[in-house]
């Protein structure tokens, strides 16, 4: 039995090698060109996201017809096909119980298809074509007003895949508004610089919420963010940005929620923030903003929640350590 298995392995690896030669070892395997068609013909009849309530559920909850589905399905170990469920399950011996597609309902993947999946995963399982080059250039004259006048169509799937390859988590802000997106960097925040943040502009017309907290974004990087004309929520807490950066955000007139705690902003930024007419909440704890700065804001935005360590209007936080001072 052991002999049998190792022979099989040997023969599989051998054919894999042959096939890689056939498709050309130097050639990159592209998700869209090579992998997605395999999924469509061999996997997606069972593993497809529900579009409406009456659709059947994806088998094992695993969605294999979108990059997000494949990524969140925990079947990939980018760079290591032999540890990736997606490769293991299609490359098992023909009589194995766990082989996919199941031997009794569907044709197995061809040796070439298996080889393509292996190489794609070993090369890092990128869903975009790598450099983002295929997405085209970000127009140099893009600005907040232009972005706002663009129709918010279905977001560019390639751009989303590219940003996700850069570590971003992208979700619709609500199931009923699939074209409006939030972008955040969970777990990967400490690696993120202006360069990655600039790439959000590929989906500029769709982004309404951006969480850049704890990233390495600089004042210079906020020039890109300042073009995201549809932003309603912006989180910059614990970044190095300061007043110069806020200047670059002056055109974000849809902002409703702005988190600046732990940044270098000062009173000098208050006149710009005071012009955000829709602002409902701004967070300024652990900044150099003074009471003067706060009163500028409060006059301009009487309805907004302005939090500095204390909400002066309600007198809520000041006396936490000495509740006796409260005048009830």
């Amino acid at each position: 039995m052991m002999l049998n298995i190792s022979f099989r392995n040997l023969s599989i690896s051998f054919t894999v090698l042959m096939c890689l030669q056939l498709i050309g070892l130097g050639q990159d395997v592209d998700y869209k060109k090579h992998i997605a068609p395999i999924m469509a013909s061999k996997c997606n009849s069972c593993h497809t996201a529900k579009k409406k309530e009456s659709d059947k559920k994806p088998k094992a909850g695993l969605v294999l017809n979108t990059p997000t589905g494949i990524r969140s399905g925990r079947v990939l170990e980018p760079g290591d096909a032999s540890n990736s469920e997606l490769y293991i399950r299609v490359s098992l011996p023909k009589n194995a119980d766990d082989l996919m597609p199941p031997p009794d309902d569907g044709s197995p993947l061809s040796t070439k298809e298996v080889a393509l999946i292996k190489k794609w995963i070993d090369d890092g399982a990128k869903f975009s074509s790598g450099s983002g080059g295929a997405l085209g250039k970000i127009p140099a004259d893009l600005d907040a007003r232009k972005v706002k006048s663009m129709p918010a169509r279905e977001p560019n799937a390639d751009a989303i895949a590219y940003l996700e390859d850069l570590g971003a988590t992208i979700n619709p802000v609500s199931a009923t508004l699939p074209e409006y997106l939030s972008v955040e960097w969970i777990s990967t925040y400490y690696k993120i610089t202006d360069k990655e943040i600039e790439q959000i502009l590929h989906i500029a017309a769709n982004v309404v919420e951006a969480d850049l907290s704890r990233t390495k974004v600089t004042n210079e990087g906020l020039k890109h963010v300042g073009k995201l004309g549809r932003l309603t929520h912006l989180n910059l807490n614990r970044t190095e940005i300061g007043d110069k950066g806020i200047e670059a955000l002056a055109d974000l007139q849809s902002l409703e929620w702005l988190n600046l705690y732990g940044t270098k902003v000062t009173d000098a930024s208050m006149p710009i923030i005071a012009k955000y007419r829709d602002l409902k909440a701004v967070y300024l704890w652990n900044t150099a903003v003074t009471s003067n700065g706060l009163s500028t804001l409060r006059k301009a935005l009487p309805e907004a929640k302005i939090v500095r360590d204390t909400d002066d209007r309600a007198g809520r936080f000041d006396n936490l350590d000495d509740p006796g001072k409260f005048d009830f």
């Binding site: 392995n9 925990r74 199931a175 777990s187 400490y190 967070y283 309600a314 809520r316």
Partner: protein, 436 residues
């Protein structure tokens, strides 16, 4: 000759024990508390977005274990000395709402809080009451229901896939059970907030080069093994190593280490188990952990109710007010639901030992942040805090309301392995009036 059926025959527990031994011996680490929570969550609705704008993204559930007296905390009856006893009553930052004078800092935060004064349960014993509070279903001999956190994991999955999505600090490990859903939806129980995530660092006696060398060696041995036994279960175990190593080297691990907090912040929450548990909960929310429970015991005040409740309240008051204010100034309160629950209230009548006994018919819970109204009261008891006049809320409704705050489908049916249908709140509807 090795036979793959050996692995199929051995049961879940013994395979786990094998893994514990292997991880400890080969790697000098043990991350087994993580096991259930982090391994493959394939059948969640992967990263489902909230269905409602402004919905909460995380929940901090504060479990008051033992049965918190409603009269001496959130539902005082100052006009009725006979039931009120010596507990003082104070105004709060919300007009018209009075609470116990044992909770002055919480009173200052009332602008952020919705009180549920119409809680009612049908369980009058601690174990059964805690069970119903956490799982929405009464205890049955034939099934183990999943805890609320497991429901949240099942219906929404993890936001941060590097660390567990469900953590329970202090209190019984039962509170973190995945029940019939299985260990993978269960939480990671932590005994003490100050200890952080135990055994998640490289042992001192193992240097980094040694550690890497051992990993490589283990890997080499595994390659042969995996070649022979290409099975799902074995891949899952290998996945454990990967998850463990990913965690050990991640930035997110810092979330579990309270030493990164300034002493002023640690004081703000109170230097005690519950206070530091709440601080840990805030740190985990900052790292996108979905559901954190923090437990505080000692509310079972059959004797000397007024002295005991006052000292419990000191701890609760500092921690709760500290948590709400700290979440707010960091901009986290809008997206974090703080819920405080208990298994039942205590008798309005004061017993011969100056104590109060179990009282399931009327008690109080609360919520703050996560889209709920501030300075709001839902439900009312009669003048003796004896029965609920209006706004009855059962534990199932409370849990459904938590689910609704997260934007989860509260009517979604999940079948147990034997095919019985269950929902997050035992078919109860969420209390929608409490949302702003």
């Amino acid at each position: 000759m090795p036979d793959k059926t050996i692995f199929n025959k051995s049961d879940e527990v013994s395979r786990r024990q094998f893994m514990i031994g292997a991880a400890k011996n080969c790697l000098g680490v043990s991350v087994l508390p993580m096991l259930g929570a982090t391994v493959a969550t394939n059948d969640t609705f992967a990263a489902a977005p909230p269905m409602r704008r402004g919905a909460a993204k995380s929940v901090i559930f504060l479990n008051m274990s033992g049965g918190m007296s409603h009269l001496d905390t959130f539902d005082p009856k100052p006009q009725n000395q006979e039931v009120q006893g010596p507990t003082p009553v104070i105004n709060t930052s919300a007009d018209g709402i009075q609470i116990s004078g044992f909770l002055p800092k919480t009173a200052a935060m009332m602008n952020y809080i919705t009180l549920f004064r119409g809680m009612r349960t049908n369980q009058g014993a601690h174990e059964q009451g805690q069970y119903l509070l956490h799982r929405s279903y009464p205890m049955r001999g034939t099934i183990v229901h999943p805890a609320l956190g497991a429901w949240v994991m099942r219906l929404s999955g993890r936001r941060n896939t590097t660390i567990p999505g469900f953590v329970s600090v202090g209190g019984s490990a039962e509170n973190a059970t995945g029940g019939f859903m299985g260990a993978k939806y269960g939480g990671v129980p932590l005994g003490n907030a100050n200890d952080g995530l135990k055994d998640s660092k490289r042992a001192h006696s193992v240097s980094e080069p040694d550690f890497n060398r051992r990993l490589e060696l283990a890997d080499k041995m595994n390659t042969t093994f995996h070649g022979k036994f290409k099975q799902k279960q074995i891949k899952t175990y290998h996945g454990l190593y990967d998850e463990a190593i990913k965690l050990m080297t991640s930035e997110d691990l810092k979330a579990f280490d309270l030493n990164h907090e300034d002493i002023k912040i640690r004081d703000l929450y109170g230097q005690n188990g519950f206070g530091q548990g709440c601080l840990l909960a805030r740190r985990l929310v900052e790292h996108q952990v979905r559901f954190i429970e923090v437990s505080m015991g000692g509310w079972d005040t059959h004797n000397d109710n007024f002295v005991s409740v006052e000292s419990k309240c000191q701890i609760l008051d500092t921690a709760l007010a500290g948590l709400i204010s700290d979440l707010e100034r960091r901009g986290l309160l809008d997206s974090t639901l703080v819920a405080l629950g208990t298994e039942f209230g205590r008798t309005p009548e004061i017993n011969d030992n100056t104590g109060r006994d179990h009282f399931p018919r009327a008690f109080s819970c609360l919520m703050a942040g996560g889209g709920v109204k501030g300075g709001f009261v839902h439900g009312e008891t009669d003048r003796k805090a004896h029965t609920v006049k209006e706004g009855i809320v059962t534990p199932g409704m409370f849990n459904a309301t938590i689910g609704h705050a997260l934007g989860l489908p509260t009517e979604k049916v999940v079948n147990s392995p034997s095919g019985r249908p269950f929902t997050i709140g035992d078919e109860a509807k969420p209390v929608k009036e409490v949302f702003a």
